[in-house]
């Protein structure tokens, strides 16, 4: 211990010895200043490059004469008023329906499985968990062609069956996330509830779900964002045009011969808003979740 300490002090001493005769503090601050300046310049540069592609979206949405090019906008909010009408508004509503149904299915099914995988003795538990991890990494949307074939056989090419398939694409990750959160909930309260002869369902509803709520909410938000932004799955699986969600509407917008660029930008921006709000909520939930894990025990 002491040997090590003296050795490290020795090496520090040699560093100082090597320095030329100049006020060391001054040199130090100067070097830190240059270093901090380079650091912030690099960060600023990356920030500008990341911001650049988004710039068009913001400027074109408030420009009454927007084009694909980047230009100073003729400020007006008319684009937002245009897109919140008729079939475009209906497409946003379809997105809400699609995302809500798929989130509900995935979260309800997922919380049961996550609880069982976290607490119960289950035959082949290890392989089941590995399968969940595997399918949470593999994007299940690549199954869309065989699913199309199944759905078209049964006449399922509409919004509700599509919502079920979208729930499956986020289900494994939701199970994995919720299992990790339930693992962190102490078992004491659950055992107390068992003593009072609470049923499995009551234990889940009264004890486990309230305690793991931040994790469940975070998982549900993941499912919602996944279904909300999904493009290829509804493109292939939803055939009635009046059931198509907002991403398809945006795509249709682009293919029109006389595209209204301001409207497209305004509509896309509105389409992004729920995602940004939900991200902000989930970031806070994660922070609270980590606090909760220790807080319950005390």
């Amino acid at each position: 211990m002491t040997q090590h300490e003296s050795a490290s002090i020795g090496s520090v001493a040699t560093v100082i010895d090597d320095e030329p005769i100049r006020p060391p503090e001054n040199r130090q601050t100067q070097r830190t200043f240059v270093r901090r300046l380079t650091l912030h310049t690099i960060l600023g540069g990356i920030g500008i490059l990341f911001l650049a592609p988004m710039l068009w979206l913001f400027l074109a949405s408030i420009d009454s004469h927007a084009s694909w090019g980047i230009e100073w906008p003729h400020f007006s909010l008319i684009n937002f008023r245009h897109v919140l009408t008729g079939s475009l508004l209906h497409s946003l509503w379809n997105s809400v329906v699609l995302a809500f149904i798929s989130t509900t299915i995935a979260s309800v099914a997922g919380v049961f499985a996550a609880y069982a995988l976290s607490r119960r003795r289950i035959p082949f538990k290890g392989p089941l968990i590995l399968f969940i991890i595997f399918s949470s990494g593999v994007p299940l949307a690549i199954m869309v062609i065989p699913v199309y074939e199944i759905f078209s056989k049964f006449g399922f090419l509409s919004i509700l069956p599509t919502a079920v398939f979208l729930s499956v694409t986020s289900l494994p990750f939701e199970v994995y996330l919720m299992k990790n959160f339930i693992d962190a909930v102490p078992t004491d309260l659950e055992e107390a509830a068992r003593m009072e002869r609470a049923s499995t369902f009551q234990v889940l509803r009264r004890v486990v779900i309230p305690l793991a709520l931040p994790g469940i909410a975070a998982a549900a938000i993941f499912g919602f964002v996944n279904a909300w932004g999904s493009f290829v799955v509804p493109l292939i699986l939803i055939s009635p045009t009046n059931q198509q969600p907002a991403p398809i509407a945006i795509y249709t917008f682009l293919t029109l011969p006389k595209a209204q660029f301001g409207n497209i930008a305004a509509y896309s921006l509105l389409f992004c808003v729920p995602v940004f709000i939900l991200y902000a909520v989930s970031a806070r939930l994660f922070r609270e979740g980590f606090v909760l894990g220790g807080g319950v025990k005390g």
């Binding site: 490290s8 592609p53 593999v138």
Partner: protein, 308 residues
């Protein structure tokens, strides 16, 4: 009294009660099955069954329209032979490889750079730059594709930024531009995960290295990199999987063109199935993707399971 009780337990019904509560064997609760059923039923019927169907479909002559749409038949290896001679498929595989590798390198390098620089930056910088990068990650693929299209086409932001406003970057370097867009849309995730892993590195290790006069590069190579390796491997695999399935971004930006130069496998599979109506052949190309995804997925399971 005592002896009769013993006899009772040996011969009478209480013995069976004892059997039921054996403590040397694992006991399962039947309600567990009920809890697992919804999830695994969904995964079986909408993941494993379609996977089996896809394997079969790939070996048939099923089409989207026409007589073989209703009465398709098993054609064995005919599609496989076709796939072997299909130059578009091989070029698509190559393009997919470049797209995936490019995305992985960009996402890992940029994610690490941002995470480590932001740790030392001012709070103000952290909020602004971190916020911009996270927003670009959260943006839905359709919007990201559209806004990247607008910024890289003629008169777009990037051309104007670099002093060639009329240059159509997307037409000039399509694969490079879509790869950059893909990196842009995934760096936020890598930055957040990498940042969390960097904060978990004990500061004593770094301080000890500074005391030992290790250079910045040595500190990175000897301490940071080994401690960060599991996180980096997870990011590499997840980025690869997401890039492999990144249909929306490229479909919006280029639709696979010009001339198949950005035609990654999911786009080619979609094109064969729904544009050329060869549903079976499209499914076969999808199966190639499943094989690639399975390889990535198995490695992902191995590193994730090690951490549990």
């Amino acid at each position: 009294m005592v002896s009769t009780a013993v006899v009772d337990t040996v011969t009478g019904p209480p013995l069976q009660e004892l059997w039921k509560t054996r403590h040397d064997k694992t006991r399962y609760q039947w309600s567990s099955l009920g809890l697992l059923t919804p999830t695994f039923a969904l995964l079986i019927f909408l993941f494993l069954v379609p996977m089996g169907i896809a394997i079969y479909l790939g070996l048939t002559n099923l089409t989207l329209i026409g007589p073989t749409a209703v009465h398709s038949s098993f054609t064995g290896t005919a599609n496989l032979i076709r796939l072997k001679g299909d130059t578009t498929f091989w070029s698509s595989l190559w393009v997919t490889g470049i797209f995936i590798v490019g995305s992985i390198i960009g996402v890992v390098v940029l994610g690490y750079t941002l995470a480590s620089l932001l740790m030392r930056a001012t709070a103000w910088m952290r909020v602004v730059v971190g916020g911009i990068v996270v927003i670009s990650w959260m943006m839905p693929a359709v919007t990201a594709g559209m806004t990247w299209y607008a910024s890289t086409t003629g008169n777009g932001t990037f051309g104007t930024l670099f002093g060639h406003p009329n240059a159509n970057l997307l037409d000039a370097q399509p694969l490079l531009v879509v790869t950059l867009a893909s990196i842009w849309s995934m760096t936020g995730f890598s930055m957040l995960v990498m940042g969390a892993a960097l904060r978990n590195i004990p500061s004593e290790a770094i301080e000890a290295a500074i005391v030992e006069n290790a250079s910045t590069w040595q500190r990175f190579r000897m301490i940071v990199l080994p401690l960060l390796r599991p996180t980096m491997t997870a990011i590499v695999l997840l980025t690869g999987l997401l890039a492999l399935a990144n249909f929306s971004l490229i479909y919006i930006m280029t639709q696979g063109g010009p001339g198949n130069s950005t035609n990654i496998l999911p786009l080619y599979s979609y094109q064969q199935a729904f544009t050329f109506n060869n549903l079976a052949y499209g499914a076969l190309i999808g199966n190639v993707m499943v094989v690639i995804a399975t390889v990535f997925g198995v490695f992902y399971v191995r590193i994730t399971a090690r951490r549990i």
